[in-house]
């Protein structure tokens, strides 16, 4: 397994080997599926749309409906305007969504199609909407694409129509699973605060089996809600990379103050999320949540010896692994390698933010580790080969490294293609942290059981 990965590092500048990221459009497609009655549309070659639908359908085990502009060589030479106009007409005539959310691809970006102008020049049926986001695949990653489509929702739809802001919060959950979005909504509801979550793929990509196929399941943020985000008192962006751009745009556009927090993975990040809501809305944290928190901390204390001092490698999307790093630190573990494929800054803005944030967490815990943004799994594997770890946490692609190096592996993040409960069961909030404890604990203890001699094989651990 991965036999050709050498221990020795060579300087590389030709690209990536075994990526820890993918391209913008899939993130845009995922975000667009979080609008109620929305059909994502990929403006490019058919292959893009096909690959993204394939990957989303595999991760969620749900239909991932989307259309494409089906570029041919002619469109690539003369521009894709005619294709998009035809697509808009056909999408509304055949699939009748309320919203068509167009994202671009490296093809349509390279030839410079001006999507706003094409949309403006196309007849859209009464009451229907076409929105768009520019998502060139040669910048950022799928997380950037998610962020850009979420920004598109704000720029097309958010409006400040009231003199005074409403007692409601906008929450941008970031590129997380529907189960995580449900959990974030549950926490907010328990705080007694009205919320608009956008995008919201719960009820879309975790829709129930009913014996009936519906093109647009019940979930997703509604267009009226998206308009109303401009009237909210606060926007909480969960995750710097997937969520903060849209929140900042909303602040500029509609004067809704924006606060960016970590994806609420683990005790500290969940505490911070609830505290932000508590202080902004002057609402006390209810006992139910205090009880959940207490239960979580109780288990952490009771089982700390399963975790303490274990060396961990974590890879995946920056917002998720920032939360994961903080959480494993709170268990006394040592996240010695933290790597994301996504560039660790903003497009056209400052770089190195990711490395700085993780490095300061490690510093505080007195841990020496390697942190890398815009990295790849080839590099992560080499680090592990040189100084092994006790546990690997990441998406499904990590299983090859885990097998090659014979290390326990916990699947968290996107995509997970070989297991099935991740869309439903959250990793955020106190409940999500309990689930992570179970996943990590089971992986470590199953390994201890496997490796123990008969004389050391324990009934109670």
């Amino acid at each position: 397994m991965l036999d050709s990965t050498p221990k020795e590092f060579i300087e590389r500048s030709g690209g990536v080997i075994n990526p820890a990221k993918t391209c913008q459009p899939i993130g845009a497609m995922y975000a667009a599926l979080g609008i109620h009655n929305c059909l994502p549309h990929s403006h490019g070659s058919q292959g893009c749309c096909s690959y993204h639908r394939m990957h989303l359908a595999r991760h969620f085990r749900e239909p991932a409906m989307a259309t494409t502009s089906s570029f041919t060589e002619g469109a690539s030479v003369f521009g894709g305007g005619a294709n998009l106009k035809t697509a808009i007409k056909n999408v509304f005539a055949i699939y009748n969504p309320d919203v068509m959310a167009v994202h671009t691809t490296c093809l349509s970006e390279t030839i410079g199609d001006d999507i706003s102008t094409i949309i403006k020049g196309t007849e859209v049926p009464e009451g229907k909407l076409v929105i768009h986001a520019n998502t060139p695949s040669y910048q950022g990653s799928h997380i950037t694409g998610f962020s850009n489509m979420t920004k598109g929702m704000v720029s097309y739809l958010a409006e400040a129509t009231l003199a005074a802001k409403k007692e409601q919060v906008n929450i941008i959950p970031g590129f997380v699973n529907p189960g995580d979005m449900r959990e974030i909504k549950r926490l907010t509801n328990l705080m007694g605060i009205n919320l608009i979550m956008f995008p919201d793929t719960s009820g879309v990509l975790d829709s129930p089996m009913t014996g009936r196929f519906v093109m647009y399941p019940k979930g997703g943020v509604k267009v009226e809600e998206l308009r109303d985000t401009g009237n909210s008192k606060l926007t909480v962006a969960l995750g710097t990379y997937a969520s903060s751009d849209a929140a900042n745009l909303l602040e500029r556009k509609c004067k809704v103050p924006a606060v960016t927090l970590k994806t609420p993975i683990g005790v500290k990040a969940t505490d911070e999320f609830l505290m932000a809501l508590r202080q902004s809305f002057i609402k006390e944290v209810p006992y139910q949540l205090e009880e959940e928190r207490g239960q979580l901390v109780d288990i952490m204390v009771d089982t700390h010896y399963h975790f303490h001092g274990k060396r961990v490698a974590i890879f995946g999307d920056p917002d998720i692994i920032t939360g994961l790093t903080e959480f494993v630190l709170s268990l006394g573990m040592k996240p010695v390698y933290v790597l994301t494929g996504t560039p660790g800054g903003t497009v056209g803005g400052p770089q190195g933010i990711f490395e700085k944030e993780i490095a300061s967490m490690l510093d505080e815990a007195g841990i020496e580790g390697k942190v890398k943004a815009a990295g790849d799994l080839f590099r992560l594997h080499q680090w592990i080969k040189n100084e092994p770890v006790d546990l690997l946490i990441g998406n499904t692609y990590g299983k090859y490294i885990a097998r090659a190096e014979d290390i326990p592996f916990v699947r968290v993040g996107f995509p997970i293609l070989d297991r099935s409960m991740h869309p439903y069961l959250p990793v955020v909030g106190y409940k999500g942290a309990m689930r992570l404890l179970e996943l990590i604990g089971n992986a470590l203890l199953d390994r201890a059981d496997r490796d123990a001699g008969d004389e050391d094989f324990e009934l109670v651990m």
């Binding site: 397994m1 991965l2 036999d3 050709s4 050498p6 060579i10 590389r12 500048s13 030709g14 690209g15 990536v16 080997i17 990526p19 990221k21 993918t22 391209c23 070659s45 058919q46 292959g47 893009c48 096909s50 690959y51 993204h52 639908r53 394939m54 359908a57 239909p63 991932a64 409906m65 259309t67 494409t68 502009s69 089906s70 041919t72 060589e73 002619g74 469109a75 690539s76 294709n83 035809t86 697509a87 007409k89 056909n90 005539a93 055949i94 699939y95 691809t105 490296c106 093809l107 390279t110 695949s137 040669y138 910048q139 990653s141 089996m209 009913t210 014996g211 196929f213 519906v214 494929g341």
Partner: protein
Amino acid sequence: MAVDEKVLEEILNSYPAKVKRTRKKHILLRDSSLDRQEIEANTRTIPGIMTNRGCAFAGCKGVVLGPIKDMVHIVHGPIGCAYYSWLTRRNKAIPEEPGKNYLTYCVSTDMQESDIVFGGEKKLARMIDEVVEIFKPNAITISATCPVGLIGDDIQAVARAARQKHGLSITAYNCEGYKGVSQSAGHHIANNGLLEWIVGQGDWEEPPGKYTINMLGEYNIGGDSWEVERVLKELGYHVQATLTGNGSYEDIKNAHVAELNLVQCHRSINYIADMLEKKYGTPWLKVNFIGIRATCESLRNMALYFGDEDLIRRTEEVIARELAEIEPQLEPYRKICAGKTTFCFVGGSRGHHYQGLYEEIGIQTTLAGYEFAHRDDYEGREVIPDIKPDADSKNIPELHVVPDERRYRPKLSRERTEELKDKIPLSNYQGMNITMKDGSLIVDDMNHYETEEFIRTLKPDIFSSGIKDKYVPHKMGLPSKQLHNYDYSGPYAGFRGAVNFARDISMSFATPTWNFIDPPWKSRPLLEGTIEKPSQEGEA
């Protein structure tokens, strides 16, 4: 319910007029009384109609080149295309030289905005150098993604320079996603490159043994080719090269020595089969190792081609033994499947191949079609001269192949060729339509709307297609089988594969999980009781 012209018309009436006109030509109601039923295929998909089709890159790197195990396949472009074609197709492989299996590696130049603006050739050259240093592969391919062609990166020049620098086979494929109208364009581009730059590069002049064959268009999904080779090896065939499942550069470069080329997936590999015949005088035989009868027939046709009495006799013995082994295993599954119907909408050839296997376990195909086929895959190769090239097909270069001066050797005399052509599909494919029952539907490039409507109308018992439409029927309570990647099972080819298939299909009917769709409270009222007749005394 069957579909007739009227029902079909009603379904198509929901389309805008232009879409209806186009889509109508892609749909046939099979009628064997007609001399010829022409279908439109391999033409542009209409934007916005939710096709299942992919692109030229997917067909070239994803399908044809990607499975070659001892080559490092570099993708030149932004990250996505390399990422999505990394380990997603279940083309299995075992390395022949220790460590020389690069299928678990995804190598991308990960083009950034500056590369798009200033060109990516230098970055690609650096990536080649790094790949040579790290992996020391036997050969390297470079596949282009959309922006490469648009910004004018000359990947052929980069490959040429790298060949000289490293003394390795480093070849480049201009399979930008916008070329052609589907994956099919990419198959053609990959076929051209393999024939021009790789097949024949080996120095063998003679086949290494008797009955040396190549297996073309077999991708070893779920281990299919291993099950077929188990039987072929026992019969004494030497499989020189498989294109491309579990295939290797080392084997393919000597593929010119084969005495016969087998063609499994006609769509993706017929170009190279045809060109091998022109260049080396080696005919090809259309085989089908999906289904028991088809497997037996393919084995018999191969034996007949070589015409060796001993081989013919041993073929019958092996067939008899294999049938005796699998028939009893199939029986319980046939009981579960009997009388059911299916849709079979797959890529290039499986839409045809799986119908026979379905039939053998008692399941009729009421609708079939291909995602990216050409007219010849439906109507047979005799229509090829009638297919008019259009703007999209003209963009794919046709190689002009001439007989190899040194190595061209007709494997059969003209008389023998003519004699065999009457008996076996030698260098010929009759297409799918001829095997389909009257009244069944043939749909090219079926889209989501048609999928939903045809399921509603024809009510199949199981749906077979790929991952993008798998969960649509599931939501309707209808079993759905992925015939691109076998739902992570297999092999389904050959004799033992048929049993695996029957087991998996039966499982999708027999699973108790379908029984829980309706919650009990949907069928039972909240309040239960009887209304008693008021007593006489109660009345005032």
